[in-house]
Assembly symmetry: C2
Homo-oligomer: 332 residues x 2
DNA sequence: GCCCCTCTTTGGACCGTTCCAGAACCTGTC
DNA sequence: GACAGGTTCTGGAACGGTCCAAAGAGGGGC
């Protein structure tokens, strides 16, 4: 008992398969009685369109592939929401793939999506293989969302303005009277931009020599260790700006362990406004990337390219905002 | 410039399309020279197989659909890992869909996956529409993973043993000397089982009248509010067992706000061992569902059904373990 | 030289759709 | 009643693979 096809529906409704196809695609060139007969037959048989057959014939899938790089850090959820809202309005579906899961295969994590011939690709976060991505971009629209890695030609980039975000953080802390401020830096384009902007802002306020920058790995563990080191210095900072929320959680832990109260003894700021930062128990001052808006912009990029807009890849930056919560306070 | 097909490869290699197909599927009935010629031509043209065409012809997709219900609560990540490891070994790919994102469509969230004719379906967490799922199960293997909702016939269930987990928690707290213990309960099968088992265990230890059960909604906010209420009672509990980690975070916040130190003044336990519970700043005692193992079992269910194993749906429970961290201590 | 057998290779049917050219059917006009 | 013009409907050719029966090539035995 195979799944019913339009031919089965056609037979039951007493019409040709072409008419069934017409009805199912919502044509208005069909007499109402026939339409009803077809729809009824389809319902009775439990007919479902076969996406494979359809996309083979239509030469497109009406599907956008979304490549996530790590499901563990849920900063991308709002972005997906925004992305979905516009894509869905445009009649497109989203299919997710996790790069970390598919990594073991030794192949490109986007392969399953590309074999399915998705009409477009959104890479969320750090990108897997820039060269491969460039090749993909020759065939279908590709958007890199949420990360400002240098993109191959033809790839659009939609990301938060990390420089602006880091500046907001530094100015917030300086405004609270902090002078000796540490930054737990990250890697990649994101880490680089945030660090540079932090340093530049400190310099602009004449605090160049008060800025303490320590490299780290953007994990909780990294944030913790680096902070333990920082806070054991004789000239310990009164505020710490971590490259992301996860690292900031590590900072909180370290402070707690060393008997410092946040924010009374130490101000802490994160980045990304993840759901963790919003937990009351954490209540972390952080930077909001307006991810929902980023997702919408990514969708708009794709939709425009589908409409035939060509050209080189553009870079769009969204203005982040500072989300002031309970982990920052005036310097004692 | 359409994407190259096997016919293009065939032409370039000077062979028939059938031979190309043979080579690409790894047949050993092909002379080495021809094989090399084909592989070279494919490489030079940047050939990619077309999954739609293949699955149309093969009548299967070698793809398993995974339906997630909410990406925001990342308890399922380990489960996916386990699932993927076995499926991948079996030559199957995974495709993810988020039920929350597709909900707006007014259709079943599994539709995109079903239209793609996935060979099997894994529903992670609370299931969307039991009736619809039963229909699906008539055509392809379906596994419900991580949730013990009553499953339609033919659907396998793989979940943690909530009764055992809740018992472990209750016994742990009782063993620490706690008598007056509150449970912040949840809803659904999961909430029900954990609550009942908690109550039963308390009864078994002659503490039936010391058990305080408060219903809640499994969110941080819910955990917070309920705890504020609980802790303002004259006979306030010395320990709180929350139905999941997220609610437990709310408990921590409430305790903090009311000036109680955890674990000195109040012991708190969660459930699920999410990455949040592992954060040093939180360091929550919780129950580990061995999600990775759950994922592997779910994969095994699917693989067996693919091999032709029929029969009614089975229910498999994995034994959870207690993860004792810093949020529980002997009663003062 | 012929036949048989095994190893390679090939053309064509098929999978379930869409799309298109044209057939069939109306309706109205002369 | 013939014809034009529009509306509905239909058969067949794609789409890009897999699968299968059968053709071709090559070797060995007589």
């Amino acid at each position: 008992m195979r799944a019913p096809t339009i031919r089965d529906v056609a037979e039951r409704a007493g019409v040709s398969k072409s008419l069934v196809s017409l009805v199912l695609r919502g044509s208005d060139q069909v007499r109402p009685e026939k339409r009803d007969a077809v729809l009824r037959a389809a319902r009775e048989l439990g007919y479902r369109p076969n996406a494979a057959a359809r996309s083979l014939s239509e030469q497109r899938t009406r599907t956008v592939g979304v490549l996530l790089n790590d499901l563990r850090n849920p900063w991308f959820v709002d972005l997906l929401d925004g992305l979905n809202s516009l894509l869905h309005a445009g009649g497109l579906r989203m299919l997710l793939a996790d790069a970390r899961l598919n990594r073991r295969t030794g192949q490109d994590p986007a392969d399953p999506l590309l074999d399915l011939r998705v009409d477009g690709l959104v890479v969320v976060g750090t990108l897997p293989d820039p060269a491969a991505l460039g090749q993909v971009a020759e065939r279908i629209p590709v958007v890199l969302a949420g990360s400002r890695e240098p993109a191959p030609p033809g790839v659009d980039v939609v990301a938060g303005d990390d420089e602006r975000g880091a500046r907001l953080v530094a100015e917030h802390l300086i405004g609270l009277g902090h002078r000796r401020i540490a930054h737990i830096a990250g890697y990649g384009a994101v880490g680089e931009l945030r660090r540079r902007s932090f340093e530049a802002t400190m310099r602009r306020h004449g605090l160049a020599h008060e800025a303490l920058v320590e490299p780290s790995d953007m994990t909780e563990e990294g944030g913790y260790r680096t902070t333990v080191r920082l806070l054991s210095r004789p000239d310990r900072p009164t505020a710490v700006f971590a490259v992301n929320d996860i690292a900031a959680i590590g900072v909180l832990s370290a402070a707690e362990e060393l008997g410092l109260r946040v924010p009374r003894d130490l101000s802490v700021v994160g980045y990304d406004n993840t759901s963790i930062a919003r937990l009351r128990h954490v209540w972390l001052t952080t930077v909001d990337n307006s991810s929902h808006e980023l997702g919408r912009r990514a969708a708009r990029c794709l939709l425009e390219r589908f409409e035939g807009a060509g050209g080189a890849g553009r870079v769009q930056l969204a203005a982040p905002t500072l989300e002031i919560r309970g982990s920052t306070a005036p310097v004692p």
